[in-house]
């Protein structure tokens, strides 16, 4: 890609995100979202492949529909209450529509259909952007409006995302689709707590971003797009594969790793709010996700020889992994003992 175009695109991604998360006027928030959408589309369709073009069209249609819905609902709110303040979303109709629009933007469960397809059509780095940076502005909007949204609707959305993300990831063989479904189920965890403790949502988002960036960058290092490629990738980067397994188990939320921290705090908050059944349901649903993370972990490092595989071995390339992968992997496995510090910081 042309370096000038790259510069402009990355600048406008940053600008769009910043405008949305720092605005308190609905029009500015909408503007930021639109800038973001328009900036990411060249990145998705970069590879001129039919799948990439299809993905960018799908992304454009859903995002612009959702943005229009956001504009519409904020206008209705402004019509009935006479102000454009984001935190003052009082009209019930616009609340409902806003929840739906943001659910479409984020890819929450009943509105999630575009997300795996778009991720599958784009490259691994763009997929990383789509599942982390592009979800930040809608999440922030949800955080700002959280006190006026309907709690039972949000809980329903959260649980259905956890169900669908776990369930539909089970029979995937493409790593990007698996990570897309993992993103959907993690969004479920973020949404379930948003009414009761919005800061915890932000913490979960940050931890999820760290974990998933580590996974995406590790996969990108050895160009793993399918499970069968993953099975033979240990010849390329043996050490990275071993740490990739730990990162994946951390994403599954197993205890001594970082991924356990958000789950622990969310369950604690939910039991404090007398929502023990919800906590039990969403915790047991995370086991669905664990199954496919475990399969990825098996493919990444555990099924080494003595097992023989039918695939041709790849050449060992003496390419050193970049520093950011190393830092992110370390963070995503070892942060749990620091959780008291992290809680006080957020």
């Amino acid at each position: 890609m042309n370096p000038h175009a790259k510069l402009i695109i990355s600048l406008s991604l940053i600008t769009g995100t910043t405008i949305t998360i720092s605005s308190n006027h609905w029009i500015m928030a909408w503007t930021g979202l639109e800038i973001n959408t328009l900036a990411i589309i060249p990145l998705i369709s970069k590879s001129h492949h039919p799948r990439a073009i299809e993905a960018s069209i799908k992304y454009f249609l859903t995002q612009s529909a959702a943005s229009a819905l956001i504009l519409f609902s904020s206008m209705i709110n402004a019509w009935s209450t006479g102000q454009w303040d984001i935190t003052q979303l009082n009209n019930p109709v616009s609340c409902l529509m806003m929840t739906m629009a943001i659910a479409i933007k984020l890819g929450l469960a009943p509105f999630h259909f575009w997300f795996p397809e778009v991720l599958q059509g784009s490259s691994l780095t763009t997929a990383l952007l789509l599942s982390t940076l592009m979800k930040l502005p809608p999440t922030i909007l949800l955080l700002l409006t959280s006190q006026s949204l309907n709690p039972s609707l949000l809980t329903l959305l959260a649980i259905s995302s956890a169900v669908l993300g776990g369930w539909m990831g089970l029979n995937q063989t493409q790593t990007r689709k698996i990570l897309a479904f993992s993103s959907i189920s993690h969004l479920g965890w973020m949404i379930v707590i948003i009414i009761y403790n919005p800061k915890l949502t932000l913490l979960t988002f940050i931890i999820y971003t760290t974990l998933t960036s580590a996974v995406f960058l590790s996969l990108n290092q050895s160009k793993i797009l399918k499970l069968s490629t993953m099975l033979i990738s240990w010849t390329k980067t043996p050490m990275l594969n071993a740490t990739l397994m730990l990162t994946l188990l951390s994403l599954a939320g197993l205890p001594p790793l970082t991924g356990f921290m958000p789950k622990w705090l969310i369950i604690q908050e939910l039991t404090k709010q007398e929502m023990t059944p919800t906590a039990t349901i969403i915790t047991l649903l995370s086991l669905l996700g664990l199954f496919f993370y475990l399969r990825l972990a098996y493919h990444s490092t555990i099924t080494l020889p003595p097992n023989t595989s039918n695939h041709m071995k790849l050449w060992y390339t003496n390419k050193t992994p970049n520093t950011s992968t190393a830092i992110l992997t370390t963070l995503s496995t070892l942060l749990l003992p620091l959780s008291p510090l992290i809680i006080t910081m957020t």
Binding site: P255, P256, W264, I267, T271, T283, T303
Partner: protein, 459 residues
């Protein structure tokens, strides 16, 4: 506490940095040194718990188990030398580091006084165990064994996490000595029952209770020798230890709750002993014998009397040493014949005469012959169960009889009889293996002289 945990954690850099020639020697000596130092925990004390801090503290229940877990690290390293000798050097290193990483977590789990720390340490043992089984096992079935292990444990322990956090929101603390003093929280009957059930089931799966035990034989059969030793000697004891801790907290409302668990545990002791009688796989036989013995431990810790608790403690320690020794013996056979099938490895006494002495001793302790500590434990448990309810003697008596018969069957079929024709030459048993067996049997024999070290008078 830290003066043992920190050296154990520093074993990891030692294993990673020591030169290839001396790696085995360094790790074994160093961990044996830690084990020797850890024995000073066993000195009797006037206070209910020694070294009590905010997070950790050791009392009469946890002391023997802590000393046992320190004792087992050098033994596990010693036992794995044989099957790793053809592996490249870096893999040996990673294997040893996986073994070492588990150790601080097990020690934290046994010594934690904060329930959430206990939970984290309890769960943290899972990933290294999974890696041990699925990475270093021998057959393709090890992958499904790993899935069984992980999912059985997690399905039961996630409700435990929720129950612990629920307890925290009700009582405001998770510190065990304080929790013992707080009265049972006045919630509804129903939520009390559900939370007690959630608190217990995780440990019942780990222990394992009959009916929730299916992951264990699979994991044992597929695991390398260190994994089997770890599971039999320490991880199952984590379950028994958890039950003893939790039942002390649950208060009188648990009296109805204990009936299904007691029934299943005693019936399971009977059933798994009979399964052992028709077992063809040596490791699977030993695994089912573990389930049967742990059934007695569960039954004893559910009725919550002083006698039953000391019986359960003695049985846990002596069964840990005995079953681990049996697994080591099975592994020495496996390394020579490459088969665990009982019919294929018969009559080894003429070939490996000293090994058959170890087989005899291990089987004697497993069938609880006098004067072993296993007998003391089983007698104590049977007496306390008999005192609780008369008809249990039928179940426990039959289970003891069956234990004796399958142990005899195991001894006779591996050691006596004619040698099968396909075994023409085997390597001699070497000093390392004899040392391993000696280090198992010495504590067993020495404890006969002073069983009050491990009898753990509960609070």
């Amino acid at each position: 506490m830290l003066k043992i945990i920190l050296p154990t954690a520093m074993l990891l850099p030692m294993a990673l940095l020591s030169p290839p020639k001396t790696m085995w020697m360094n790790t074994t000596t160093y961990s044996l040194l830690i084990a020797l130092i850890s024995l000073q925990w066993l000195t009797p004390s006037y206070y209910p718990s020694k070294n009590l801090t905010l997070w950790t503290g050791i009392d009469q229940i946890s002391t023997p188990l802590l000393a046992l877990s320190c004792w087992f690290l050098p033994l596990m390293i010693l036992a794995s030398q044989g099957h790793l000798q053809h592996e490249p050097h870096t893999r040996k290193r990673t294997f040893i580091s996986a073994l070492i990483i588990i150790q601080p977590f097990i020690m934290l789990a046994f010594s934690a006084t904060e329930l959430i720390l206990f939970y984290i340490a309890f769960e943290a043992t899972l990933i290294p165990t999974l890696i041990l089984i699925t990475r270093w096992g021998n057959q393709p079935e090890r992958l499904s064994a790993g899935i069984y292990l992980l999912f059985y444990t997690l399905i039961s322990s996630l409700p435990l996490l929720i129950a612990i956090l629920f307890l925290h929101s009700k009582t405001g603390t998770l510190h065990l000595p304080i929790l013992k003093l707080t009265p049972p929280n006045p919630t509804t009957q129903w939520s009390n029952l559900v939370s007690n059930l959630a608190l217990l089931v995780a440990f019942m799966v780990k222990a394992p209770l009959y009916g929730l035990h299916l992951w264990l034989p699979k994991a044992h059969v597929e695991a390398p020798i260190a994994g089997s030793m770890l599971l039999a000697a320490l991880l199952l004891k984590l379950g028994g230890y958890g039950i003893m801790r939790i039942t002390l907290l649950m208060g009188p409302s648990s009296s109805h709750l204990c009936y299904p668990f007691l029934t299943l545990a005693l019936w399971g002791a009977l059933m798994t002993s009979s399964i052992c009688l028709r077992q063809t796989d040596l490791k699977s036989l030993i695994a089912y014998s573990s389930v049967s013995h742990m059934g007695l431990v569960i039954a004893a810790s559910m009725i919550q009397t002083h006698w039953s608790f000391s019986g359960a403690m003695i049985l846990m320690i002596s069964h840990g040493l005995t079953s681990s020794m049996l697994f080591c013996l099975a592994n020495t056979n496996y390394e020579r014949t490459h088969s665990r099938i009982l019919i294929l490895t018969r009559g080894l006494q003429p070939l490996l005469p000293l090994m058959s002495t170890w087989w005899l001793l291990a089987n004697m302790t497993n069938m609880a012959l006098p004067p072993t500590t296993n007998l003391m434990a089983e007698l104590t448990i049977m007496v306390s169960l008999f005192n609780w309810s008369f008809p249990t003697i039928i179940l426990t008596g039959t289970a003891t009889l069956l234990t004796a018969s399958y142990t005899l069957y195991m001894l006779l079929s591996t050691q006596r009889g004619t040698l099968p024709t396909h075994i023409t030459s085997t390597p001699n048993s070497n000093t390392r293996e004899h040392l391993l067996m000696t280090l198992h049997i010495i504590p067993l024999l020495a404890l006969i002289l002073k069983p009050e070290l491990i009898s753990g008078t509960p609070l």
